[in-house]
Symmetry: C2
Subunit: 173 residues, 2 copies
Protein backbone atom coordinates (compact mmCIF):
# COMPACT_ATOMS: atom_id res chain seq x y z
CA UNK A 1 0.00 0.00 0.00
CA UNK A 2 1.32 3.46 -0.93
CA UNK A 3 0.62 6.12 1.73
CA UNK A 4 1.29 9.83 1.22
CA UNK A 5 1.74 11.93 4.37
CA UNK A 6 1.64 15.72 4.34
CA UNK A 7 4.09 17.73 6.47
CA UNK A 8 2.58 20.98 7.81
CA UNK A 9 -0.22 20.32 10.32
CA UNK A 10 0.24 16.55 9.98
CA UNK A 11 3.79 15.84 11.16
CA UNK A 12 5.04 19.43 11.62
CA UNK A 13 3.16 21.90 13.83
CA UNK A 14 3.02 25.01 11.66
CA UNK A 15 -0.19 26.29 13.26
CA UNK A 16 1.36 26.49 16.73
CA UNK A 17 4.45 28.14 15.25
CA UNK A 18 2.27 30.91 13.79
CA UNK A 19 0.71 31.42 17.23
CA UNK A 20 4.05 31.40 19.04
CA UNK A 21 5.65 33.93 16.68
CA UNK A 22 2.63 36.22 16.83
CA UNK A 23 2.29 36.03 20.62
CA UNK A 24 5.94 36.88 21.04
CA UNK A 25 6.05 39.74 18.55
CA UNK A 26 2.75 41.34 19.56
CA UNK A 27 2.81 40.40 23.24
CA UNK A 28 -0.43 38.42 22.81
CA UNK A 29 -1.80 35.27 24.45
CA UNK A 30 -3.54 33.34 21.70
CA UNK A 31 -4.04 29.60 22.08
CA UNK A 32 -4.99 27.06 19.43
CA UNK A 33 -8.20 26.25 21.31
CA UNK A 34 -9.74 29.66 20.64
CA UNK A 35 -8.94 29.48 16.91
CA UNK A 36 -10.97 26.41 15.97
CA UNK A 37 -12.47 26.59 12.50
CA UNK A 38 -10.21 29.39 11.33
CA UNK A 39 -6.76 29.97 9.91
CA UNK A 40 -4.62 31.67 12.52
CA UNK A 41 -4.27 34.84 10.43
CA UNK A 42 -8.07 35.15 10.58
CA UNK A 43 -7.90 35.30 14.40
CA UNK A 44 -5.68 38.37 14.69
CA UNK A 45 -6.61 42.04 14.16
CA UNK A 46 -6.90 42.91 10.51
CA UNK A 47 -3.85 45.17 10.55
CA UNK A 48 -1.70 42.21 11.64
CA UNK A 49 -3.05 39.62 9.22
CA UNK A 50 -0.50 40.15 6.45
CA UNK A 51 2.33 39.86 8.94
CA UNK A 52 1.04 36.44 10.02
CA UNK A 53 0.55 35.31 6.44
CA UNK A 54 4.16 36.25 5.71
CA UNK A 55 5.59 33.98 8.45
CA UNK A 56 5.94 31.15 5.92
CA UNK A 57 8.31 33.24 3.82
CA UNK A 58 10.75 33.76 6.69
CA UNK A 59 14.06 31.94 6.85
CA UNK A 60 13.92 29.38 9.64
CA UNK A 61 10.14 29.09 9.86
CA UNK A 62 9.97 25.51 8.58
CA UNK A 63 13.28 24.46 10.13
CA UNK A 64 12.06 25.23 13.63
CA UNK A 65 8.66 23.50 13.57
CA UNK A 66 7.84 21.11 16.39
CA UNK A 67 6.98 17.51 15.57
CA UNK A 68 3.29 16.61 15.91
CA UNK A 69 2.71 14.21 18.82
CA UNK A 70 2.97 10.56 17.93
CA UNK A 71 3.87 11.08 14.29
CA UNK A 72 7.40 9.70 14.56
CA UNK A 73 6.53 6.38 16.19
CA UNK A 74 3.48 5.69 14.06
CA UNK A 75 5.17 6.70 10.80
CA UNK A 76 8.15 4.52 11.58
CA UNK A 77 5.84 1.57 12.19
CA UNK A 78 3.85 2.36 9.02
CA UNK A 79 7.09 2.54 7.02
CA UNK A 80 7.92 -1.04 7.96
CA UNK A 81 4.58 -2.28 6.69
CA UNK A 82 3.72 0.04 3.79
CA UNK A 83 5.37 2.26 1.20
CA UNK A 84 5.28 5.64 2.95
CA UNK A 85 5.99 8.91 1.13
CA UNK A 86 6.19 12.38 2.65
CA UNK A 87 4.48 14.79 0.23
CA UNK A 88 4.59 18.51 0.97
CA UNK A 89 3.23 21.30 -1.24
CA UNK A 90 6.30 23.44 -0.63
CA UNK A 91 7.23 24.92 -4.01
CA UNK A 92 5.49 28.22 -3.19
CA UNK A 93 8.21 28.80 -0.57
CA UNK A 94 11.63 28.30 -2.18
CA UNK A 95 13.45 29.02 1.07
CA UNK A 96 11.56 26.16 2.71
CA UNK A 97 12.86 23.41 0.41
CA UNK A 98 16.22 22.86 2.06
CA UNK A 99 14.72 23.44 5.51
CA UNK A 100 12.14 20.73 4.94
CA UNK A 101 14.75 18.29 3.68
CA UNK A 102 16.96 18.97 6.73
CA UNK A 103 13.98 18.76 9.09
CA UNK A 104 13.07 15.35 7.71
CA UNK A 105 16.68 14.20 8.08
CA UNK A 106 16.53 15.26 11.72
CA UNK A 107 13.13 13.96 12.78
CA UNK A 108 12.14 11.34 10.18
CA UNK A 109 15.43 9.76 9.11
CA UNK A 110 13.61 6.48 8.47
CA UNK A 111 11.86 8.07 5.47
CA UNK A 112 14.69 8.03 2.91
CA UNK A 113 15.17 10.73 0.28
CA UNK A 114 13.72 8.35 -2.30
CA UNK A 115 10.35 8.68 -0.53
CA UNK A 116 10.17 12.45 -0.19
CA UNK A 117 8.21 14.74 -2.49
CA UNK A 118 8.17 18.54 -2.55
CA UNK A 119 5.53 19.71 -4.97
CA UNK A 120 3.17 22.52 -5.91
CA UNK A 121 -0.06 20.56 -5.88
CA UNK A 122 -0.88 16.93 -5.15
CA UNK A 123 -3.25 16.28 -8.05
CA UNK A 124 -0.75 14.06 -9.81
CA UNK A 125 0.09 11.63 -7.00
CA UNK A 126 -0.84 7.99 -7.55
CA UNK A 127 -1.31 5.88 -4.45
CA UNK A 128 -3.71 4.36 -1.95
CA UNK A 129 -3.93 6.75 1.01
CA UNK A 130 -3.38 10.49 1.47
CA UNK A 131 -3.18 11.91 4.99
CA UNK A 132 -3.48 15.69 4.76
CA UNK A 133 -5.08 18.68 6.50
CA UNK A 134 -6.32 20.47 3.37
CA UNK A 135 -9.48 19.84 1.34
CA UNK A 136 -7.74 21.17 -1.76
CA UNK A 137 -5.35 18.23 -1.61
CA UNK A 138 -7.69 15.53 -0.32
CA UNK A 139 -10.45 16.35 -2.78
CA UNK A 140 -8.32 15.58 -5.82
CA UNK A 141 -6.94 12.29 -4.54
CA UNK A 142 -8.14 9.07 -6.17
CA UNK A 143 -7.55 6.83 -3.16
CA UNK A 144 -8.55 6.99 0.50
CA UNK A 145 -8.42 10.59 1.73
CA UNK A 146 -7.92 11.05 5.48
CA UNK A 147 -8.19 14.56 6.91
CA UNK A 148 -5.80 15.08 9.80
CA UNK A 149 -7.40 17.42 12.30
CA UNK A 150 -5.88 20.88 12.61
CA UNK A 151 -7.47 23.99 14.19
CA UNK A 152 -8.21 25.44 10.75
CA UNK A 153 -10.16 22.41 9.45
CA UNK A 154 -12.37 21.45 12.39
CA UNK A 155 -15.56 22.51 10.58
CA UNK A 156 -14.91 20.47 7.42
CA UNK A 157 -17.24 17.47 7.24
CA UNK A 158 -16.32 16.08 3.83
CA UNK A 159 -13.60 13.55 4.66
CA UNK A 160 -12.77 10.59 6.85
CA UNK A 161 -10.93 12.10 9.77
CA UNK A 162 -8.03 11.33 12.11
CA UNK A 163 -7.69 13.55 15.18
CA UNK A 164 -4.37 12.10 16.32
CA UNK A 165 -1.61 9.76 15.18
CA UNK A 166 -3.16 7.14 17.44
CA UNK A 167 -6.20 7.30 15.15
CA UNK A 168 -3.91 6.78 12.14
CA UNK A 169 -2.35 3.77 13.83
CA UNK A 170 -5.78 2.30 14.49
CA UNK A 171 -6.78 2.79 10.87
CA UNK A 172 -3.64 1.71 9.05
CA UNK A 173 -1.44 -0.45 11.26
CA UNK B 1 -3.15 15.76 -21.12
CA UNK B 2 -0.72 15.73 -18.18
CA UNK B 3 2.96 15.80 -19.26
CA UNK B 4 5.87 15.36 -16.84
CA UNK B 5 9.22 16.74 -17.95
CA UNK B 6 12.48 15.85 -16.24
CA UNK B 7 15.16 18.53 -15.64
CA UNK B 8 18.71 17.15 -15.90
CA UNK B 9 19.58 16.03 -19.45
CA UNK B 10 16.12 17.07 -20.71
CA UNK B 11 15.89 20.82 -20.11
CA UNK B 12 19.17 21.35 -18.16
CA UNK B 13 22.51 20.23 -19.59
CA UNK B 14 24.11 18.45 -16.63
CA UNK B 15 26.20 16.15 -18.83
CA UNK B 16 28.03 19.03 -20.51
CA UNK B 17 28.53 20.67 -17.11
CA UNK B 18 30.31 17.54 -15.86
CA UNK B 19 32.58 17.66 -18.92
CA UNK B 20 33.27 21.38 -18.59
CA UNK B 21 34.18 21.14 -14.90
CA UNK B 22 36.41 18.13 -15.47
CA UNK B 23 38.15 19.62 -18.50
CA UNK B 24 38.89 22.78 -16.59
CA UNK B 25 40.10 21.13 -13.39
CA UNK B 26 42.17 18.40 -15.05
CA UNK B 27 43.21 20.36 -18.15
CA UNK B 28 41.48 17.78 -20.37
CA UNK B 29 39.66 18.02 -23.72
CA UNK B 30 36.74 15.65 -23.46
CA UNK B 31 33.73 16.18 -25.71
CA UNK B 32 30.25 14.69 -25.40
CA UNK B 33 30.67 12.94 -28.78
CA UNK B 34 33.38 10.59 -27.48
CA UNK B 35 31.29 9.60 -24.43
CA UNK B 36 28.27 8.07 -26.18
CA UNK B 37 26.77 5.14 -24.31
CA UNK B 38 28.49 5.97 -21.02
CA UNK B 39 28.06 8.17 -17.98
CA UNK B 40 30.73 10.85 -18.03
CA UNK B 41 32.38 9.52 -14.87
CA UNK B 42 32.95 6.25 -16.77
CA UNK B 43 34.99 8.11 -19.39
CA UNK B 44 37.65 9.52 -17.08
CA UNK B 45 40.63 7.70 -15.47
CA UNK B 46 39.55 5.58 -12.53
CA UNK B 47 41.34 7.78 -10.00
CA UNK B 48 39.20 10.75 -11.08
CA UNK B 49 35.82 9.02 -11.18
CA UNK B 50 34.75 9.84 -7.63
CA UNK B 51 35.59 13.47 -8.15
CA UNK B 52 33.26 13.58 -11.17
CA UNK B 53 30.50 11.75 -9.30
CA UNK B 54 30.73 14.35 -6.54
CA UNK B 55 30.08 17.31 -8.87
CA UNK B 56 26.36 17.05 -8.16
CA UNK B 57 26.96 17.70 -4.46
CA UNK B 58 28.71 21.01 -5.10
CA UNK B 59 27.03 24.32 -4.39
CA UNK B 60 26.22 26.02 -7.67
CA UNK B 61 26.32 22.91 -9.88
CA UNK B 62 22.59 22.94 -10.67
CA UNK B 63 22.28 26.72 -10.63
CA UNK B 64 24.76 27.11 -13.44
CA UNK B 65 23.44 24.51 -15.89
CA UNK B 66 22.84 25.60 -19.47
CA UNK B 67 19.38 25.24 -20.95
CA UNK B 68 18.98 22.40 -23.47
CA UNK B 69 18.41 23.75 -27.00
CA UNK B 70 14.79 24.34 -27.90
CA UNK B 71 13.35 23.33 -24.53
CA UNK B 72 12.10 26.79 -23.61
CA UNK B 73 10.11 27.49 -26.76
CA UNK B 74 8.61 24.02 -27.05
CA UNK B 75 7.75 23.77 -23.34
CA UNK B 76 6.09 27.16 -23.41
CA UNK B 77 3.98 26.07 -26.39
CA UNK B 78 3.19 22.72 -24.71
CA UNK B 79 2.15 24.57 -21.53
CA UNK B 80 -0.51 26.46 -23.45
CA UNK B 81 -2.02 23.26 -24.78
CA UNK B 82 -1.44 20.71 -22.00
CA UNK B 83 -0.92 20.47 -18.26
CA UNK B 84 2.89 20.48 -18.04
CA UNK B 85 4.76 19.57 -14.85
CA UNK B 86 8.50 19.70 -14.26
CA UNK B 87 9.46 16.61 -12.24
CA UNK B 88 13.03 16.25 -11.02
CA UNK B 89 14.41 13.49 -8.80
CA UNK B 90 16.38 15.96 -6.72
CA UNK B 91 15.91 14.90 -3.11
CA UNK B 92 19.26 13.09 -3.05
CA UNK B 93 20.92 16.51 -3.33
CA UNK B 94 19.49 18.84 -0.67
CA UNK B 95 21.65 21.74 -1.80
CA UNK B 96 20.10 21.46 -5.27
CA UNK B 97 16.51 22.11 -4.20
CA UNK B 98 16.67 25.89 -3.98
CA UNK B 99 18.99 26.05 -6.97
CA UNK B 100 16.52 24.13 -9.10
CA UNK B 101 13.63 26.33 -7.99
CA UNK B 102 15.62 29.49 -8.80
CA UNK B 103 16.80 28.04 -12.12
CA UNK B 104 13.20 27.35 -13.14
CA UNK B 105 12.20 30.88 -12.12
CA UNK B 106 14.96 32.20 -14.36
CA UNK B 107 14.56 30.02 -17.46
CA UNK B 108 11.05 28.53 -17.26
CA UNK B 109 8.95 31.21 -15.54
CA UNK B 110 5.90 30.03 -17.50
CA UNK B 111 5.88 26.81 -15.46
CA UNK B 112 4.38 28.10 -12.19
CA UNK B 113 5.38 26.72 -8.77
CA UNK B 114 2.12 24.78 -8.71
CA UNK B 115 3.47 22.62 -11.55
CA UNK B 116 6.92 21.83 -10.14
CA UNK B 117 7.84 18.59 -8.40
CA UNK B 118 11.09 17.72 -6.64
CA UNK B 119 11.03 14.09 -5.65
CA UNK B 120 13.09 11.02 -4.85
CA UNK B 121 11.63 8.66 -7.39
CA UNK B 122 8.91 9.06 -10.02
CA UNK B 123 7.03 5.82 -9.38
CA UNK B 124 4.08 7.64 -7.85
CA UNK B 125 3.36 10.16 -10.61
CA UNK B 126 0.00 9.87 -12.34
CA UNK B 127 -0.24 11.35 -15.81
CA UNK B 128 -0.15 10.75 -19.55
CA UNK B 129 3.40 11.41 -20.73
CA UNK B 130 6.82 11.31 -19.06
CA UNK B 131 9.82 12.81 -20.89
CA UNK B 132 12.97 11.64 -19.13
CA UNK B 133 16.51 10.43 -19.84
CA UNK B 134 16.55 7.53 -17.34
CA UNK B 135 15.18 4.00 -17.74
CA UNK B 136 14.67 3.79 -13.97
CA UNK B 137 12.06 6.56 -14.24
CA UNK B 138 10.52 5.70 -17.61
CA UNK B 139 10.14 2.00 -16.81
CA UNK B 140 7.83 2.62 -13.87
CA UNK B 141 5.55 5.08 -15.64
CA UNK B 142 2.02 3.97 -16.53
CA UNK B 143 1.59 6.35 -19.45
CA UNK B 144 3.62 7.14 -22.57
CA UNK B 145 7.34 7.06 -21.74
CA UNK B 146 9.59 9.11 -24.02
CA UNK B 147 13.35 8.80 -23.59
CA UNK B 148 15.12 12.07 -24.27
CA UNK B 149 18.49 11.34 -25.83
CA UNK B 150 21.54 12.06 -23.70
CA UNK B 151 25.11 10.78 -24.23
CA UNK B 152 24.68 8.26 -21.41
CA UNK B 153 21.51 6.60 -22.83
CA UNK B 154 22.30 6.26 -26.54
CA UNK B 155 22.48 2.45 -26.34
CA UNK B 156 19.09 1.98 -24.64
CA UNK B 157 16.54 0.53 -27.07
CA UNK B 158 13.57 0.05 -24.76
CA UNK B 159 11.65 3.30 -25.15
CA UNK B 160 10.15 5.65 -27.68
CA UNK B 161 12.82 8.25 -28.21
CA UNK B 162 13.16 11.99 -28.80
CA UNK B 163 16.61 13.23 -29.86
CA UNK B 164 15.74 16.92 -29.70
CA UNK B 165 13.00 19.26 -28.55
CA UNK B 166 11.95 19.53 -32.20
CA UNK B 167 11.11 15.81 -31.96
CA UNK B 168 9.03 16.52 -28.86
CA UNK B 169 7.18 19.28 -30.68
CA UNK B 170 6.44 16.94 -33.59
CA UNK B 171 5.08 14.30 -31.21
CA UNK B 172 3.06 16.41 -28.80
CA UNK B 173 2.18 19.79 -30.30
Amino acid sequence: MIIFVDMDEVIADAYQAHIDIYNQEFDAQFTAEECMGREFWQCVPQEHQQSVRDHTHRDGFFKNLKVIDGSQDVLEALSKKHEVYIASAAMEFPQSLREKSDWLDQFFPFVPWQNRILCGNKHVLKGDVLIDDRSKNLGFFDGRSIMFTSPHNTEVKTFERADTWRDIADKLL
